[in-house]
């Protein structure tokens, strides 16, 4: 790959601030909209590759993407891109939280609404996990029964270990990733 063009720091900052403020339920859509469609810094194929890499590395995908795009303008570029991604939405969230705390102190109804939003967020997490489980189930062809069963077992083990046994989540992550990698290797995971 030829060395990509340097990006002006101000462009990086504006683009990633925009991505941060448009991130709702995941950064994938705004990342693609700004980086591929609007700025044309990457084409679809490059974006898919780098996005996949960012998902495979620890940390939030959006922040990892900011690090990688920012690198085109050096270390400072990475710092600027990450700071732009997180700072405006953090300030907004803190303002909302301060306001919410103030209102909730005076209104029991508002406080009840807040708790219902948190309860709704739990439902959202369950739905996201279930949707991914369904996608994984459907992605594997009928012939790969063993592979499919193992993946379902990893999903079920995650639920049982964390909800049933209250296993320390970092430990659950390590154990499950190891089991999943081992299973992929043993069964010759299909693409």
């Amino acid at each position: 790959m030829e060395p990509p063009a340097r990006l002006a720091l101000v462009d990086l900052a504006v683009a990633f601030a925009q991505i941060g403020l448009n991130s709702v339920g995941g950064a994938a859509a705004p990342l693609r909209a700004v980086i591929v469609k609007q700025r044309k810094w990457l084409d679809e194929a490059e974006f898919a590759e780098i996005f996949g890499m960012c998902q495979a590395l620890p940390g939030a995908t959006g922040a990892n993407m900011a690090v990688i795009l920012g690198r085109r303008s050096g270390l400072l570029g990475s710092v600027v891109a990450v700071a732009a991604l997180v700072t405006p939405s953090m300030l907004l969230a803190i303002a909302i939280a301060a306001f919410a705390t103030h209102v909730a102190a005076h209104s029991a109804r508002f406080a009840a609404g807040e708790t219902a939003v948190a309860a709704g967020a739990a439902g959202l997490f369950i739905a996201n996990g279930a949707r991914l489980a369904w996608a994984l189930w459907r992605a594997v062809g009928e012939g790969d029964r063993v592979y499919r069963a193992i993946r379902l077992a990893v999903i079920a083990a995650g639920v049982v270990l964390v909800v049933g046994f209250r296993l320390w989540i970092p430990a659950a992550v390590v154990v499950l990733v190891a089991a999943s990698l081992l299973a992929d290797r043993r069964t010759g995971a299909p693409k």
Partner: protein, 174 residues
Amino acid sequence: VNEQTLFTLMLRFGTLSFFAVGGGISILIPQIHHEVVQQYGWLDERSFAELLAVSQAAPGPNFLIVPLIGWRVAGWPGAFLTLAAFLIGPFVITSIAAHVLHNHDSPLLTRLRRAFRPVTSGLWIASGLVIALTVDRRPVELLATLGVCALSLAFDLNPVWLLLGAGVVGSLVG
């Protein structure tokens, strides 16, 4: 601001950041809840639910709950330093990976990413269940969890509308 508290916040969230695998931090929410509410007693259940609600309903990356907790526990220094501690580890790892791996599609990363998927799926479901078990104290909250889950699965609606809807129903029932 208590320096010891700031240091502990940074250390805890810095450590957790390495376990945010598969792209998001939703899988870590029960762990964050355990540490912040039970282990260190920085927040009560209500404050935690409030910050979780704001972090999910406000526009922004899904890890906004991290600086929000830092802010609530230790003010502005807490917000910035906790967030910085949470970002620095993955920042360094991603920089090194981008430097070392010229081919972004390396077989190692592809294998890792594939292995992460069922792990993330199970831990997302687990995360939702654990949060529901702590937050859902009354029928209306159980209704919010089940309703948002069902509507999201059935219609794949924008999550912000679902959460705001849950909030309106919750405050009307009171």
